[in-house]
């Protein structure tokens, strides 16, 4: 264990430096403390609030385009007031519709569920849960947020240009995305879209390298990898995925920019545009982009869901008062997901005319990736079994996460099997599948994390009753919206259609579309309960009076109620055990800082856990 000794010595040196650093940080100005902050906690909150703002924008967009889908024949004069020429005579125009769906997808996946979810919790939790003063490079960490912020501003600015934002779908397949003549959104809007996402990739790389080096090098004494909470494992593994796959997307984007502006033909060949004529490009391959895109695009869904899985595991164990079942299986299944995530991308491309043999390999690997997900579901169920479940809002969202993850995950088996995928590819079946399994589920993971760690973030509580109402409306709403879409998909109803009323094969769903749109509006409105609760509680919430409100074992709850820069006022505590010793040997919980073998002594436990002279409820003995 020579290696470990070296790492721990290294960590100890860093801690000294951290202590030293903390003394100087008291003289921070408003700007260095709240805006250009290098404190991982502040940066985490910045990611969260930016993510929440984007979620509001993205959610509102879905309300707008659902109005069109649900009420294609109804005129809403107020729409013209709100969105101007995007709505003509109270109807959203097709180009506005396609811009809305495109930007909805882009911001939800990249800005909300990658930036807002993993950005928030990786930043906030990694140093607190592994026992570090801050990230490995606080400066890089700050830069990662500001690259993200700049990307946000650029994306938002594309709404205000004459030709409108990009309207070719969040996947941005060329030639549509490469040719301004093919769609007005593919003119300046696409340039801004590309610039925004390239900055976002830079942000993710800066952040990801930081997360990885912090987890590998800066764990406190005794915090071996297999003693880390699963929430840290989740964000650590998503960072590995991101660092290895985002550069491929980046290269795809660079080639696209070359095709757009420098006359190359990477993706373009044999194109004749109505009203423009034949283009000079020959010899390119449009499918090449799809390979580059989905090499990130598929890992991306795991980048989104792994942090949520980790958060849910941590919250479920804490509030179930029971160790997470099969900790090492949980870690191994996440590893399996990371490895397989790189080998399944072409299942998004079964109908591009790919080599059937190649397709069959992707079928095999795609269906195999269902196995680690299945293991995780069974382990969560066993964690609940014979537990003593405390339904905090976070716990409710954890249970809701498992429910929607099952519902959405099982339908993945249909489309992973290429023969069935031929029929349901690009239909509402897909919409239902990925919204449940990575949209709603990841949102539930995010809500779960926010409700759970809010007291640590702002030293105040959120209102529980609002949390309960928020959860139940959202869970029911999510199912009412996405469950019936499976039937539309089974009828082959294509996604991304502005209007179905002229189609003999799909117009029987008009009533259903109306119903779904109404559910969308109600569910979206219910999110204001969360918004109000969140922002109101930051300033007016019930004050936190104990360090460890959830009676959790994890290291972050050993910090003071008001956590300063540097996280622990004195020495960083040493870790002696895994984080899931709940209901063991007659103890309700045994924090990680309690040495093994002395857990029978409740007095010592309380002292070690609370520190000296802190108002704290000692772990109860049964």
């Amino acid at each position: 264990m020579n290696n470990e000794a070296v790492i721990q010595t290294g960590a100890a040196t860093l801690h000294v430096a951290g202590d030293h650093g903390e003394a100087h940080h008291h003289k921070q100005s408003f700007i260095t403390k709240y805006i250009f902050s290098q404190d991982h906690k502040t940066i985490g909150k910045q990611f969260l609030i930016t993510g929440i703002i984007w979620a509001c924008i993205g959610g509102f967009m879905s309300v707008l385009f659902r109005l069109q889908l649900g009420f294609p024949d109804t005129s809403f004069p107020w729409l013209s007031t709100v969105i101007g020429h995007w709505a003509k005579d109270g109807h959203i125009t097709p180009e506005a519709f396609y811009s809305l769906t495109t930007i909805h997808g882009t911001v939800m996946i990249f800005f909300v569920l990658t930036g807002g979810l993993s950005g928030t919790f990786a930043n906030f939790l990694i140093p607190l849960q592994v026992g570090a003063r801050d990230m490995a490079s606080p400066l890089m960490n700050m830069l990662s947020y500001w690259f993200f912020f700049t990307a946000s501003v650029i994306m938002l600015s594309s709404f205000f240009i004459q030709t409108g934002p990009f309207a070719g779908g969040w996947t941005a397949y060329p030639p549509l995305s490469a040719l301004g003549d093919a769609s007005p959104g593919s003119q300046t809007g696409m340039d801004l879209w590309l610039a925004s996402l390239i900055l976002f990739v830079v942000s993710q790389l800066l952040a990801g390298l930081n997360y990885i080096s912090t987890v590998l090098n800066m764990r406190t004494k005794g915090m071996s990898m297999m003693r880390m909470p699963l929430s840290t494992w989740g964000v650590f593994l998503q960072a590995i995925l991101g660092v290895l796959s985002f550069p491929v997307l980046f290269s795809g984007f660079i080639l696209l920019i070359f095709d757009r502006h420098f006359g190359t033909s990477f993706y373009l060949s044999d194109i004749y545009i109505n009203g423009v004529g034949a283009l000079p490009h020959e010899g390119g391959n449009a499918i090449l982009y799809q390979h580059l895109f989905w090499f990130l695009g598929h890992p991306e869904v795991y980048i989104v869901i792994l942090p949520a899985m980790g958060i849910v595991s941590e919250v479920m164990s804490t509030n179930g008062r029971k160790p997470i079942f099969g900790y090492s299986a949980m870690v191994m299944s996440m590893f399996a997901i990371v490895a397989l995530a790189f080998l399944v991308w072409a299942h998004h491309m079964f109908v591009t005319g790919m080599n059937p043999f190649l397709g069959s390999i992707f079928v095999l690997l795609t269906l195999l990736i269902a196995v680690p997900s299945a293991i995780k579901v069974f382990n969560w169920l066993t964690t609940l079994w014979k537990g003593n479940l405390r339904f905090t809002p976070a716990m409710l969202f954890a249970i809701g996460f498992v429910s929607v993850f099952i519902s959405g995950g099982l339908t993945g088996i249909y489309m992973g099997n290429s023969a069935i995928d031929i029929h349901i590819h690009d239909t509402y079946f897909i919409i239902a599948h990925f919204h449940l399994v990575m949209g709603v589920a990841a949102f539930f993971g995010m809500f779960c994390g926010v409700y759970h760690w809010f007291p640590k973030m702002y030293s105040r509580h959120m209102n529980n009753t609002l949390g309960y109402i928020h959860f139940w409306i959202t869970l029911i709403g999510a199912y009412l919206i996405f469950w019936p879409m499976h039937y539309e998909g089974m009828a082959g109803m294509p996604r991304r259609y502005y209007d179905y009323s002229t189609w003999e094969s799909f117009k029987q769903f008009a009533e259903l579309n109306k119903f779904i749109s109404i559910c969308v509006i109600i569910t979206f409105a219910a999110q204001f309960l969360f918004l109000f609760n969140f922002f109101h509680s930051i300033f007016k919430g019930r004050k936190l009076t104990v360090k460890n409100p959830w009676k959790s074992n994890a290291l972050e709850w050993t910090t003071p109620i008001h956590v300063g820069h540097g996280n622990w006022p004195g020495e960083i505590p040493e870790v002696h055990r895994w984080p899931y010793d709940y209901s063991k040997d007659g103890h309700d919980f045994i924090p990680q800082t309690v040495p093994v073998g002395e857990e029978d002594n409740p007095v010592y436990t309380a002292a070690a856990f609370t520190g000296v002279g802190v108002e704290e409820d000692a772990p109860a003995k049964a």
């Binding site: 397949y173 060329p174 030639p175 007005p184 044999d270 194109i271 004749y272 545009i273 109505n274 034949a278 391959n285 449009a286 179930g320 029971k322 160790p323 079942f325 099969g326 109908v351 005319g353 059937p356 069959s360 196995v371 293991i375 069974f378 382990n379 014979k386 003593n388 479940l389 339904f391 429910s403 099952i406 519902s407 099997n417 023969a419 069935i420 031929i422 029929h423 690009d426 239909t427 209102n463 529980n464 009753t465 609002l466 199912y479 469950w483 019936p484 039937y487 089974m490 009828a491 082959g492 294509p494 259609y497 189609w503 003999e504 094969s505 259903l512 109000f532 609760n533 019930r542 709940y582």
Partner: protein, 372 residues
């Protein structure tokens, strides 16, 4: 509108008041006691949600299943395998779905917090974990074997007796080409596309020194239509192209789909099982139409990229084809041997539908262009 907003605000205010009051009550009553109370409510809601959810699944199925195309089944012989595979997967995943959802919400209800209860310390169990790793693996492998048999059939070579039709997508419509009497598709090149002179596909009709082309006589008898005519029980192979961006030949009733990629030809084949007329009787829907839907976002007119498919008997097909005039003669009326004797024959059977569709399509194309 005003009332909706007012009602919404009222509801929001009421909820906030309740939430606030509950916080005060919890302070008065003691936090632990009010927590236990809300815990019971949430525990009960878990089981209520489960029961209502199961009823909802049943009710939703009853309401929507008749609207999905699974009722009349696939309209192609190969598509039956898709449906079959779908049902097998539905049964297997259905078992898992109901089992796990019921356990999830039942556990949540059954093991809710009780003051004097202790949770069971149960960190791992290798036997259980091995079982639920290996059973899903085996089940999935069976599904893979089953699925790949169909996959290789669909993507394999079309039968020898298959007829061939070329499908070309463009913003925003479909062009179908039949090889004509010689059974050979004439060569084409995208730089020869010239819709103004009736050469919407770029067939090589003339010698062109600049492009180093020689006219291809095989293209002179090629027939171009706006409706896809297929023959019942005769396999058809679609040769798929795109002129501008990626489109997708989506055939929901036949359970088939294939992208149309500019510069990269693709193909798919299937065998129609029922004529359009037969399908009208089967479904009891006098308006039943086989439709070709674009399934890949291709621009602002994507949703209007529709073509009608007519499945007919061999005799009807022969009649329809005999009445079609090769596109070459439309472009060069002076070379048409029929033109000098009699007025050009019109497509009597399909004309009304095709004409209407063409008019609608043209109108949409114009509209889409105007929107740019």
């Amino acid at each position: 509108m005003f009332f909706t907003v007012a009602a919404f605000l009222l509801i929001v205010i009421v909820i906030f008041q309740i939430a606030k009051a509950s916080e005060y009550v919890s302070v008065l009553k003691g936090e632990e006691q009010s927590f236990q109370q809300s815990n019971k409510v949430n525990g009960a809601l878990m089981i209520v949600f489960l029961i209502l959810g199961l009823i909802g699944v049943y009710w939703c199925n009853k309401l929507l299943y008749p609207k999905s195309t699974l009722v009349e089944g696939s309209a192609s012989i190969e598509g039956e395998q898709v449906d079959h595979l779908f049902w097998i997967t539905l049964i297997l995943t259905g078992i898992v779905f109901f089992a796990t959802q019921i356990l999830l919400f039942w556990f949540a209800f059954r093991y809710q917090y009780k003051e004097n209860k202790k949770a069971y310390y149960f960190p791992h169990n290798n036997t259980m974990e091995i079982i639920w790793t290996s059973v899903p693996t085996i089940v999935l492998l069976i599904l893979i074997v089953y699925g790949l048999r169909s996959w290789f059939l669909f993507t394999g070579d079309a039968p020898k007796n298959a007829m061939q039709v070329e499908v070309t997508g463009h913003q925003f419509g479909w062009i179908f080409r039949y090889p004509g009497d010689d059974g050979v598709f004439g060569k084409k090149y995208f730089k020869d596309i010239d819709p103004a002179n009736s050469n919407s596909l770029g067939l090589i009709w003339k010698d062109n020194a600049a492009l180093k082309q020689k006219a291809d006589p095989a293209s002179f008898d090629d027939i171009i239509t706006g409706t896809l005519y297929l023959v019942k029980d005769k396999p058809v192979e679609l040769l798929i192209n795109s002129q501008d961006v990626i489109h997708d030949v989506g055939l929901p009733q036949f359970r088939m789909k294939m992208d149309a990629v500019p510069g990269t030809p693709t193909r798919l084949w299937f065998t129609p099982k029922y004529t359009t007329e037969e399908m009208k009787k089967i479904t009891g829907n006098p308006n039943y139409t086989y439709e070709l839907a674009c399934d890949q976002l291709c621009g602002n007119g994507h949703y209007s990229m529709r073509a009608v498919i007519e499945v007919v008997t061999q005799q009807e097909y022969d009649v329809i084809m005999a009445k079609q005039k090769p596109a070459y003669f439309t472009a060069f009326p002076d070379k048409d041997p029929a033109a000098s004797q009699q007025p050009a024959a019109t497509d009597s059977t399909a004309a009304p539908a095709a004409a209407t569709a063409a008019v609608v399509r043209t109108a949409r194309d114009t509209a889409a262009l105007a929107l740019r």
